[in-house]
Structures are given as C-alpha cells and as structure tokens.
C-alpha cells in the first residue's frame, strides 16, 4: 500500500488520491466528448478475454473423450456448471448459442472482476513507471463495459424475441401482454413492457458496475490508512486483506448473477405469453 507515486506530484489529499485512482486513461478519438476511448478499460478487458477464452480454447482443442487431464477436468467442471444452469432455465437448443454465450459472459466477467484483487497502489505505481498517468485495472468498474455487455444482451433479447415470435408477434406482445388483448389496456401494456425493456439493461449493468465500483472505492479508502503512519498502514493492510477475502465472494457472485440474468433474459425472449 504505497502512495509514493502520487506524493511526488502535488501535496495529496484523500479526494485527490481517490480521484487520481479513478481517472481513466482516456484518449480522444473525435470531436465531442462521446468520442473518447478508455484505453485502460479496453486493453484490460481484451487482454483478459483473450487470456481466458484462449485458455479454454486451448483446452477445448486438445479435449479428449477419454480420461481427461486435470486442466481439462477443470474446464469441464466450469462447462458443466454453466451448462447445468442454462439447461434449468432455457428449454431449447442451448448449445447453438445461449450456453456458449453464458460461458463467455461468466468467464470474462469473472476475470475482469478479479482484477479487483490487484493491489491498487502497487498496480498504479507499476503502470506509472510504464508511463501511464491513469490506469484503471478493473474493466467492470467502468460503466461503459457493463453497459456494453447489458446492451449487447438487450439487443440479443429483442433479436431472439422477434426470431421466435416474428415481428408481428413481438409487436402484438408489446401491446397485448401482460394484461390482455383488450384495446383499452393497450397503453398500460405498452407502458409496462417499455418499463421492462428499459429496466432490464439498467439493472443488469448497474448491479455489476455498482458492486465492482464500490469494491474498488473501499480498497482505496482502506489504502488511505497508509497515510496515517505505520500503525494505520498495518491496520489498513489487515482490513484490506479481510475485504479481499470477502471480495472473492462478490467477484464470483456478481459474475454468476450477470451470467444468470443474461440467460434468463435470453430464455424469456424465446417464451411467448
């Protein structure tokens, strides 16, 4: 828990410390503020995605139907876990799309969440030494990541809904479910569905974002104990260790919840009322 790198610049206050840690490595790629790219978020998530899915791909390529190696057994364990969850929720041909998607979501989000375990200040110091002033390690504590995933799922949801029921069926459902097909309740139905369609991606993405963001903030707050001297450093380190251990649960749980919601939304899209 060192704060050296920040001290070298200007006299540090708690808010400047946190602000510095929560700053993105933002690169402008256009005129307006929308055309900004968080290079750290993108690089971390792509590297993690390639590492995790590359590992699974490597195992899958050499997968044997005979006696599996320990690596393969581990991958099959995860595979079976995800497949069982999907099987319980979605009763269709899950192998063609939904189950692999669930596996991708689970492993990728888990890996991105797990970046929270990197010691904030040591990692920041390392990236500072490499010449990056700002570098956020946890892609899922960037709202852009969680929204990107949730919106992708949202579009898939609408796509599967239309694919399963046809465009007419989908529009019919927008107006005629859940209260019935009486024209008098059409507005109520539409409003209901609208709220549902808006709330799904919001709750989907904000739940993950909130958990990971809060986790990061707490690590930063605990890291600030180091500013109060040796006793504070030890105390902060013990608390941070405790929070890390508890965070293992949150990291795994949030990845699992995100995957489950993905599967539930996609499964619901296949069901007609």
């Amino acid at each position: 828990m060192t704060t050296e790198h920040a001290q070298s610049a200007t006299p540090m206050t708690p808010s400047s410390y946190i602000e510095h840690h929560l700053g993105f490595n933002a690169q402008s790629v256009g005129d307006t503020s929308f055309w900004t790219l968080h290079v750290d978020t993108l690089a971390m998530s792509v590297i993690l995605g390639v590492l995790v899915m590359g590992f699974v791909w490597w195992i899958a390529r050499g997968a044997t139907s005979g006696v599996p190696t320990k690596r393969q057994a581990f991958v099959e364990l995860v595979f079976g876990f995800v497949d069982d969850q999907v099987k319980n929720i979605f009763h269709g041909d899950r192998h063609s799309f939904i189950a692999p998607t669930a596996l991708t979501v689970f492993l990728w989000v888990f890996a991105m969440n797990a970046m929270d375990f990197l010691p904030v200040d040591i990692f920041a110091a390392l990236m500072h030494a490499l010449g990056f002033e700002h570098w956020r390690a946890v892609p899922t504590s960037d709202i852009n990541t969680t929204f990107a995933l949730a919106l992708a799922v949202w579009f898939l949801m609408i796509f599967f809904s239309i694919k399963a029921k046809g465009l007419g069926g989908w529009i019919h459902e927008l107006f005629c479910a859940p209260f019935g097909s009486n024209p008098l309740v059409w507005p109520a139905n539409f409003l209901f569905n609208l709220i549902e369609y808006v709330s799904k991606p919001l709750s989907h993405s904000l739940r993950l974002f909130g958990n990971m963001y809060a986790g990061e903030i707490i690590f930063l707050l605990l890291g600030m104990w180091a500013a109060t001297g040796l006793a504070g450093t030890v105390f902060g380190a013990i608390l941070a260790a405790g929070w890390s251990i508890f965070h293992i649960l949150i990291v795994a749980l949030q990845a699992f919840i995100f995957m489950m919601l993905t599967v539930v939304y996609l499964a619901m899209a296949h069901e007609s009322h």
Binding site: A26, V29, G30, S33, F34, W35, T36, L37, H38, T41, L42, S45, V46, G49, M53, V56, W57, I59, A60, R61, A63, T64, S65, G66, P68, Q72, V75, E76, F79, G80, H95, S96, F97, A99, P100, T101, L103, T104, W108, P139, D142, I143, N144, T145, F147, A148, L149, L151, A152
Partner: protein, 156 residues
C-alpha cells in the same frame, strides 16, 4: 459516469468473444463430454448385459449339470441291470452247459455200461461155451450142437 465510445468498443469485443466461443470453444468441449458420457453409458449397459448373461449361463450350467447327473444315474442303473442280466445269462448258460455235459457223461456211461455188458455177455457166453464144451466134449459133438449153442449164447 461518462458513457462514451468505449461502450461501442467493448460491445464489439464482447460480440467477437461470443462468436469465438460459439464457433471454436463450445463444440469441441461438448463433443468430448458427450462422447465420454455415451462411452460410460455404453460401458455400464455392457456390464449389465454381461451380468445378466452370466446369470443365464449359471442357470444353464446348473441345468446341464442336473441333466448330466440324471443321465449318469440312468446309465449306472442300466449298467447294473445289464450286469445282472449278464450274470443271469451266464448262470443259465452254465446250467445248460452243465446239463449238456451231464447228459453227455450219462450217455457215455451208459454206452460204457452197455459195452461192458456186451463184453461180459461175450465172455460169459464164451465161458458158458467153454464150460459147456468141457462138459459136452465127452458127450456132445461140437459140430452137431453148434447151432443150439449159438442160440444159447445170443440169449445170454
């Protein structure tokens, strides 16, 4: 909380990852696991089949054994019967042979006796003739009375 172009980039990354998993990761793992499941199921079915086959074979062997036992006892019974029959036959044969030998012996004895009788008769007649000759030498001419003496000898 600033939504920006990162969202689009992340969505593209997500789409690529999903495509990659759907195309390259999921199918080989699925096929490996399903093949193994099938192999295990087949193995268990084969084991079950073998078990029932063993049971059938055990039953069959027991039945065969019983049949063999039955046949053996039957054969032994038959053999005993045959042996008894053979002994009986041998006895009968021996008896018949014995009788035949006895009959033969009896006939021979009779023949012997007859021969002895003939001999004796001839000797007695010779003796009688000799005696008579001695008596009659003085009184009877042998030539005149030979016919009468022959008749006498035949009668003896």
């Amino acid at each position: 909380m600033n939504i920006n172009f990162t969202l689009v980039a992340q969505a593209i990354a997500f789409a690529v990852l999903i495509w990659f998993t759907v195309k390259f990761v999921w199918p080989p793992l699925l096929s490996a696991i399903e093949t193994r499941q099938k192999e295990i199921a087949d193995g268990l079915a084969a084991a079950q089949e073998g078990k029932s086959a063993l049971e059938v074979a055990a039953k069959k062997s027991e039945a065969t054994l019983n049949e063999a036992k039955l046949k053996a006892s039957e054969i032994i019974g038959q053999a005993e019967k045959r042996a008894a029959q053979l002994v009986e036959e041998a006895k009968t044969n021996a008896k018949v042979e014995g009788d035949r030998i006895i009959t033969g012996a009896k006939a021979e004895i009779e023949q012997e006796v007859n021969r002895a009788k003939e001999g004796l008769r001839a000797q007695v007649s010779e003796l009688a003739i000799a005696g008579a000759e001695k008596i009659l030498r003085k009184e009877i001419d042998a030539k005149a009375h030979s016919e009468m003496l022959a008749t006498l000898a035949a009668e003896l």
